[in-house]
């Protein structure tokens, strides 16, 4: 166990946000869910009480009879936000005093650093480059991520759960987002920071980053596994493999969308365009962990190779 190196990585000013991320993301996820569960309990309590259910009371815990249904933004929200702003400012000032910006000297084109890492917020994208063709990982996927985030309000057919934390009423939405953000995005950043060493090789935390390390990791395209060599063969084979994935993944997503009584109700509220858009993004998002697993476990490079693009 190379504690010295581990400390060097953890304490590097570049990596401080990610160390923070490891603790803060789970904490706030837990904190938000706790509030959501409390709210859910309150809603159940209110709905069980026919007297209260009639009047539209607020659904945010804590709540007692007689409390006003709504409060004003000023001062009740803004004073809290102001307090938060001060605290964040203090943290930022202390942070910037204690850790200097990790700026380096003039770039030397003859000397590239190893490993060369993107800024922490882009490490997820850089990690994706390992699994996808650069065109996919660098252009298509980021575009789809942005568009996917943009379409959320348009494909969201669930009328409940806006304005307060709730888990019961938005299980699907929260689950999908947590999967995309926490499981995929954040973990890829963590991998990029702590796991990827010289040569972008996989080093477990505590393993010494040896620049001279040699590993046997030869990747094959899927068609090579099946011994297909001709171009038409490769294209058709790859297309069918991707098609198969789309069908299987689409089916699985459909099962997920229509899992419970509640979700089936939402499903019925969606029109075809909304449904197809949602399916498209879900299937695309799911392709990321699938490809990661294919690469890490089976050393598959591309599934579908064509002269124009590869997946």
């Amino acid at each position: 166990m190379d504690w010295h190196q581990l400390w060097e990585i953890v304490s590097a000013p570049d990596n401080v946000p990610i160390v923070g991320l490891i603790f803060l993301v789970p904490f706030y996820a837990w904190y938000g869910l706790r509030q959501a569960v409390a709210n859910d309990r309150l809603i159940a309590q209110l709905e069980a009480d026919p007297a209260l259910a009639k009047t539209h009371h607020r659904k945010v815990f804590p709540f007692e009879k007689g409390w006003s249904k709504e409060v004003h933004v000023w001062p009740y929200l803004l004073r809290i936000e102001f307090l938060a702003a001060i605290i964040v400012t203090v943290i930022l000032i202390l942070w910037s005093i204690s850790l200097d910006a990790p700026l380096e000297e003039l770039a030397n084109p003859n000397l590239t650093m190893n490993p060369a890492k993107a800024p922490w917020y882009f490490l997820g994208l850089q990690e994706m480059l390992v699994y996808f063709h650069p065109w996919m990982a660098g252009v298509v996927m980021p575009t789809l991520i942005i568009i996917g985030l943009m379409v959320i309000p348009y494909i969201d057919a669930n009328p409940l759960g806006s304005g307060y934390y709730t888990w019961k009423q938005r299980k699907f939405a929260i689950g999908t987002f947590a999967f995309g953000f926490i499981v995929l995005w954040c973990s890829m950043i963590v991998i990029g920071t702590f796991i990827r060493g010289p040569g972008w090789m996989w080093f477990w935390p505590g393993q010494t980053w040896d620049p001279t390390r040699v590993v046997y990791e030869v990747n094959r395209d899927l068609h090579e596994v099946f011994g297909i060599t001709s171009w038409p063969g490769k294209i058709i084979f790859g297309a069918s493999a991707v098609g198969l994935y789309v069908v299987v993944a689409g089916f699985a997503c459909h099962k997920l969308i229509t899992l419970t009584e509640f979700s089936r109700k939402i499903y019925l509220r969606m029109n075809l365009l909304q449904y197809l858009t949602m399916q498209f993004f879900l299937v695309t998002m799911l392709s990321l962990p699938v490809k990661i697993l294919l690469r890490l476990l089976l050393r598959i490079n591309y599934v579908w190779v064509t002269p124009w693009f590869s997946l």
Partner: protein, 1066 residues
């Protein structure tokens, strides 16, 4: 939530406490930020404040001390005397001065009145002229001219004081022209008076200057007033970034923001600035070598070009010194700081003020590093030969091409339709034919150059073609196994060979050696040989005795056990003429020629620098062994004596060497060749079949700027990082110490291991080489800042390479303070021994004529037939050897000596007035006078006398010496060559001329000329006949001189054989 919550916490809970705490925290953090901004991020401010107080304190202590010293000087009798003289001179000048001053005062008064009036009128006239010049109308122009004329007539009335002593006010009336004249006259008078004043004051000014310089000369360091100035400057030092900016060299440097005393004119030490242990005090010292700053003005060169580090950084010591990951040029460590010199002084072999770097450069050549590693400038001859040969090939092709074009042009001319066209074609053919002549000329010159270069190529190790004739077979494997066992100081490194490899290498070398028969030499006399070995100068380069018993130079092999390795016959040949080869090598056919090759063409089997043409193809042959060892021009008998003596140098019984029958095993040869090629043996040795082998190592010219990541630390990279030697310095040092260390733990196929052998380097040599390699960088300094002179300094640069190549410093002194190999030997410590030392070459260029020097270097015997002697100093047992320099190298050496003494090239000897008959008589008298018996020490060509002579023959003077130098030498020889036996003070000053200091012969009465000049002119007119006459004349004088006791030991010593001299002189 508790049940008793009856009020909504969102509305009713108070956040005041939180807000208060948060605001307080915000205020504190803002304070912290401000503190950080002004103090934390700017440590140099603290440095500057500290410097101000510490330096002021230091100066305050220093001022009274210097003031006291100054007072002591002012109180000295000499200074008081000067002051008194000064006062007297002032007194003497006063009456004159007063008169002049009063006159000047009167002129000033009158001039004041005239000037006001004149300048006013002149302004009017100038403007009127301008208007007239610009007026176009004829009439108005005329009118204005008339007006101006009227104005100039005046009259202008002035009241001026008269010039005489009365000073009466007088009324005068001037026209404009008169006014101008008066103005100019007064000014001229005034300036004349002021010139007079300077003249009157001259003695006073001179004395005052003398008094000032007296104080400066006697005061160590700055005076109290100057120190007070420094103190004032220090007190008013403003706290700010001190920056050097030279856009020309892309320099922005702030080093002096902390190193504030670096350029101070006083010596400031750590002790002065707060103690040896104080970290800050280290930053406040003055530069340890201010003379270097004088050569390299910091305003121009800055700091980092020499020292490295990040000149722009001021946030921390670590960053400013560049000791962090992202700065590629960290400050050179103390042990290697001279590395910084290399990037501008790469073309120098010897860098003044940088002994460590110079040592590194020398070692790189001496240990033969360039045999495997290319380094620009080293072993340049080999590369030049290749380039020249390529050029020749290209020119030969061009020549053929031209011939073809000529034929084509003639053909076209023959077929041309009309005469005009035909003529133009023929003309073209003519022009082309002429151009082939030029090409021929160029080829000839290149051939000549190639020939010179081939002669200049020397190998670090001996030729392995000669092994069969040279060595005892049993010795070869013993040597290859570990050369350091046999000879601890050898230059040959130890290769990591296993037993089989040793055998195969030995077999390969043995079998690739050329066959040849040496004449069988009779044995000589070992005792005489020992004497010759110790006196002829062999010990200038070679040493004998191991460990503490070692005597002699370190340049060439230690000969303690040489008797165990060589054949006697070969050794005789080697001592007699080391350049002699068994067989010549033809680089064109790539083989060693045999007698048959010559026989085929009916030529005798003779090859030497004069007979160096290949009988088969006419190409230049390699006719010499590629060694720097020169020929001492010994007789064959003396060579036998020395060889016999050397053969007695043994430690082990020859019979104890195990037999090595495998040396003739043909089966081993192929394997041996592989190993020899793998380890690059041909880099240092001449090996048959491997003459054109390339270098096996990496180029090192810019190794110091190779990114650290590209150094193969192999498995040791983590260890190196943890132990703090993951740096260029660390790599070089470890590699030189233990070249195979980076193979540690690696699994490598056979033959893939690191090849670099172990050189058994001493720690100081490792530091020197490391310094050199660290400095070997791709220079970031602009070309005009690098030391690439095109004048005489370049000749000096080039010369040093040769001086080091041939180890001239083994016998001669070139710089004051440089010890030669010989002068430290016990034999040369006695007065007699000192006279036997080879001459010092300080100022040699000023001494000798370059033409003569060229002849001498080519043939130090200065004779074609009688070569077993020293040409110029036959009395020295130490022999100036023949180096067989190529014309190329002789030229460089001559230029070097001339440049070292700043002599212009080419040298044009000055014309000396011929001697009149009277002067001739005088000169002879002086030459043979009892007080100056020149011929007592100087050789005359008479064998009997010359045995005791300790100085050169005067006959050489006209051709050899420069008259100017000769005179300077006569006047003060010890100034030119400290410790010379030539007596100083022979002449004394008498007005503008030099006269002989001793009693002059009576006939000198009435001779007004310079007597030193007379002697020089006489010497330069010296002939053999004149010399014989002198010898005859001086015999009597010498006899009496013998009775004159002289303190000079070398002269005193000569008194003994004076009687003998007398009889021999006749």
């Amino acid at each position: 939530m508790p049940e008793n919550h009856d009020r909504d916490p969102v509305v009713f809970s108070s956040l005041s406490a939180y807000l208060l705490i948060a605001s307080l925290l915000l205020t504190v953090s803002l304070g912290l930020a401000l503190y950080n901004e002004f103090f934390g991020l700017r440590p140099w401010k603290d440095y500057q404040r500290q410097f101000k107080s510490r330096y002021a304190h230091f100066l305050e202590k220093e001022i009274p001390r210097q003031a006291a010293a100054e007072k002591a000087i002012l109180g000295s009798a000499e200074y008081q005397d000067l002051q008194k003289k000064l006062k007297d001179a002032e007194e003497a000048a006063r009456p004159n001065l007063n008169e002049i001053d009063s006159q000047v005062a009167r002129i000033d008064q009158r001039l004041a009145g005239v000037t006001t009036e004149f300048t006013d009128k002149r302004a009017y006239v100038s403007s009127a002229i301008y208007i007239i010049e610009r007026t176009s109308g004829e009439r108005s122009r005329k009118r204005r001219e008339e007006n101006l004329e009227k104005f100039r007539k005046g009259p202008f009335r002035l009241r001026l004081p008269a010039l005489d002593a009365s000073g009466k006010i007088e009324d005068v009336s001037f026209t404009y022209d008169q006014l101008e004249e008066e103005f100019n006259r007064l000014r001229e008078q005034k300036s004349n008076l002021l010139t007079q004043k300077v003249e009157v004051l001259r003695p006073v000014t001179e004395l005052r200057h003398q008094a000032q310089t007296y104080v400066q000369d006697h005061l160590n360091g700055l005076g109290a007033d100057q120190l007070k100035g420094l103190l004032k400057k220090t007190r008013s030092l403003s706290i700010e970034i001190k920056q050097i900016h030279n856009p020309d060299a892309h320099l922005v440097e702030r080093c002096e923001s902390c190193h504030l005393a670096i350029r101070e004119p006083v010596v400031v030490t750590r002790q002065d600035m707060g103690g040896v242990k104080d970290r800050m005090a280290a930053a406040f010292t003055s530069h340890p070598s201010p003379e270097l700053l004088q050569i390299h003005n910091p305003e121009k060169f800055g700091c980092t070009p020499c020292h490295n580090g990040n000149g722009m950084q001021v946030v921390s010591v670590q960053k400013a010194h560049g000791n962090y990951e992202h700065w590629l040029w960290p400050l050179y460590p103390r042990a290697n700081f001279e590395a910084g010199c290399q990037q501008c002084h790469a073309s120098d072999m010897v860098v003044d003020h940088a002994p460590m770097l110079s040592r590194g450069k020398e070692l790189f050549q001496w240990r033969g590093c360039m045999g495997c590693h290319r380094f620009q400038g080293y072993d340049a001859e080999t590369e030049d030969v290749t380039a020249v040969q390529q050029q020749i090939a290209q020119l030969e092709m061009k020549r053929q091409e031209t011939q073809r074009e000529i034929r084509a042009a003639i053909q076209l001319g023959d077929q041309a339709a009309d005469n005009e066209t035909a003529r133009s074609f023929y003309q073209r053919a003519e022009a082309l034919r002429v151009s082939t002549g030029d090409i021929d000329g160029r080829i000839e010159q290149l051939d000549y150059r190639a020939r010179n270069l081939l002669q200049d190529i020397k190998k670090v190790g001996p030729s392995l073609k000669e092994v069969r004739v040279k060595l005892r077979a049993e010795w070869v494997p013993v040597w290859i196994t570990n050369p350091h066992d046999f000879r601890p100081t050898t230059r040959m490194p130890r290769f990591r060979l296993d037993e089989d490899e040793v055998k195969s290498v030995a077999a390969f070398i043995w079998q690739s050696g050329v066959e040849g028969k040496l004449p069988v030499q009779p044995r000589g006399d070992a005792a005489r040989g020992k004497e010759s070995f110790e006196t002829r100068g062999c010990l200038g380069c070679h040493s004998i005795g191991e460990g503490d018993n070692r005597t002699g130079g370190t340049f060439a092999a230690n000969l303690t056990r040489v008797g165990e390795k060589v054949n006697y016959d070969y050794l005789v040949r080697w001592v007699h003429d080391p350049r002699e080869r068994t067989r010549p090598y033809c680089p064109f056919e790539k083989r060693d020629l045999t007698e048959d090759d010559y026989k085929k063409h009916g030529k005798p089997f003779v090859f030497d620098p004069e007979h160096s043409e290949c009988p088969n193809d006419g190409h230049e042959l390699q006719v010499e062994q590629m060694t720097v060892m020169p020929s001492l021009r010994l007789s064959i008998q003396e060579a036998r004596d020395i060889a016999t003596y050397l053969m007695t140098q043994k430690e082990k019984d020859l019979a104890s060497y195990p037999a090595a029958p495998y040396l003739s095993d043909v089966a081993l040869k192929a394997e041996g060749l592989k190993v020899v090629q793998r380890y690059g043996c041909a880099g240092c040795h001449e090996i048959a079949g491997l003459e054109t082998e390339g270098r096996i190592g990496t180029e090192l010219t810019k190794e110091g700027s190779k990114p650290l990541e590209q150094f193969d630390f192999a498995l040791l990279v983590t260890e190196a990082r943890e132990q703090g030697w993951h740096s260029h310095k660390g790599f070089f040092e470890h590699k030189l110490q233990k070249p195979e260390m980076f193979d540690q733990g690696l699994i490598k196929a056979e033959g893939e291991e690191l090849k670099m052998p172990n050189f058994n380097l001493k720690p100081e040599d490792i530091t020197a080489l490391t310094t050199f390699l660290m400095g070997a960088v791709d220079s970031t300094v602009p070309r005009q800042y690098q030391y690439l002179p095109s004048d005489q300094r370049r000749d000096v640069q080039e010369g040093w390479w040769l001086i080091k190549k041939y180890n001239c410093m083994g016998c001669h002194q070139f710089k004051v303070g440089q010890a030669t190999g010989l002068e430290v030997l016990a034999r040369f410590q006695t007065p007699e021994g000192k006279d036997q030392l080879p001459p010092k070459l300080l100022g040699e260029g000023a001494r000798v004529s370059p033409d003569w020097l060229l002849r001498f270097l080519t043939n130090p015997a200065l004779s074609k037939n009688d070569t077993d002697r020293n040409g110029i100093r036959p009395y020295l047992k130490t022999r100036m050897p023949t180096f067989y320099f190529s014309p190329n190298e002789v030229r460089k050496l001559v230029r070097f000596f001339q440049a070292m003494s700043s002599q212009p090239m080419p040298y044009i000897p000055p014309r000396l007035d011929p001697l009149t008959n009277q002067e001739l008589t005088l000169a002879r008298a002086l030459f043979t006078s009892r007080a100056a018996p020149c011929l007592k020490c100087h050789a005359t060509g008479d064998a009997g006398h010359d045995r005791y002579a300790t100085a050169p023959n005067f006959l050489f003077a006209p051709e050899r010496l420069k008259p100017g130098w000769t005179k300077r030498w006569l006047l003060d020889p010890s100034m030119i060559s400290p410790g010379t036996a030539m007596p100083s003070g022979l002449f004394k000053r008498d007005g503008a001329r030099w006269v002989f200091a001793g009693p002059t012969p009576p006939i000198f009465a009435g001779y007004e000329g310079d007597q030193a000049d007379l002697l020089v002119r006489y010497m330069f007119a010296m002939t053999a006949e004149e010399q014989r006459r002198l010898v005859g004349m001086s015999a009597g004088a010498m006899k009496s001189a013998a009775s004159v006791s002289r303190s000079d030991e070398s002269h005193a010593r000569l008194q003994v054989p004076a009687g003998q001299l007398l009889s021999q002189a006749h």
